[in-house]
């Protein structure tokens, strides 16, 4: 399993490098809306991955791996993440790829990422109420929610309205 992870990571890194995503100017230009390379790449990755993953799930070859929708954690995390990303000029995956290209800024930022993870571990018990603030909707997907809704309305229809 570890070897598989290493190989997946190497393929991931080479794709990011080929896609020019290990570059700070590309990332910052995306968020300044000067260049859409990141969105084009991510959009294609999501379209292809969604088809592939849902096909595998339908064939019973894998199961979904969904993060819980905890309002405080997801919303608060997204805001801190966005601010940090703007300061750093890379996201976590692209910074590791930039490390492989020898970029010094990325090295400093990856050390910062280790520090940030350690701070998270240190503060975790105190953070739990913050993460859970606003409610926990569980590992919900939009597809499942829509299915539940249509089932519920079918049920109501069947009961004869």
């Amino acid at each position: 399993m570890r070897l598989l992870g290493l190989m997946t990571g190497m393929a991931f890194g080479s794709l990011l490098q080929r896609g020019k995503l290990a570059r700070q100017d590309v990332i910052i230009d995306q968020f300044a809306l000067r260049d859409a390379r990141v969105v084009k790449t991510m959009g294609t990755a999501v379209a292809v991955g969604a088809a592939g993953i849902h096909a595998l799930v339908a064939m019973g070859l894998t199961k979904k791996d969904v993060k819980p929708m905890k309002v405080g954690g997801v919303a608060g995390g997204a805001v801190l993440f966005g601010a940090g990303l703007a300061l750093f000029g890379y996201c976590p995956g692209t910074s590791l790829a930039a490390l492989g290209e020898g970029r010094r800024d990325a090295m400093a930022g990856v050390l910062g990422m280790l520090f940030g993870a350690t701070a998270f571990v240190r503060l975790y018990p105190a953070l739990v109420p913050l993460i859970d603030a606003g409610g926990d909707f569980g590992k919900l997907t939009v597809r499942r929610r829509l299915l539940e809704r249509s089932q519920a309305s079918n049920h109501e229809l069947a009961r004869g309205s």
Partner: protein, 178 residues
């Protein structure tokens, strides 16, 4: 903006690379029952290192008690290790010049690879990772893997992160016409 140098090697089109990432993510689900993600490996590494080096300072025991799963060196950790190796090999394979270039706008604001720039990178990386662990995902885990599964959490995280980063980039570096 983009350097116009012609380089050898496979396509650099965002659509081709994006399709490659989508296929890789599908393969990950097939072989490892999970998708591309980077930051959970940092959390488990921090917990493991904290337990070994400074269990009191990091209060790692109360973290471990509050967590349902024990941190370990696994698929995700090795993925994070493989990432820079793959990028390094890809850069070498296409014999790109070793470059330390940064964003021109960012260099104007914080200097290029000087003390300020490195300190801001460290701070930004720390903030970003802290946020990623609060939300349990990053641009990969939420932005690509989560949205591919139509996960509600990822469909909230990704646009909110994009808007915040957009506002912060404008505030930090200005419009910077180029």
């Amino acid at each position: 903006m983009m350097s116009a140098q012609t380089r050898s090697g496979p396509s650099r089109s965002p659509y081709v690379v994006g399709a490659g990432l989508g296929i890789l993510n599908t393969l990950a689900f097939l072989t490892a029952k999970r998708g591309l993600g980077v930051t959970s490996a940092f959390e488990s590494t921090a917990a493991l290192a904290g337990r070994k080096v400074a269990p009191d300072l990091t209060q790692v025991n109360s973290y471990l008690k509050a967590r349902d799963e024990a941190p370990k060196i696994d698929w995700e950790t090795l993925l994070a290790v493989g990432l820079p190796i793959g990028s390094f090999l890809a850069a070498r394979a296409s014999s790109e010049p070793w470059s330390d270039d940064t964003s021109p706008q960012r260099a104007q604001r914080f200097g290029a690879n000087g003390g300020t720039s490195l300190a801001v990178s460290f701070l930004g990386g720390a903030l970003m990772m802290f946020g990623a662990r609060l939300a349990k995902g990053c641009t990969s885990g939420h932005g690509i893997t989560g949205t591919s599964q139509l996960a509600l959490s990822s469909l909230v995280f990704t646009p909110l992160m994009f808007v915040t980063a957009g506002i912060a980039v404008r505030a930090l570096y200005g419009r910077g016409e180029s």
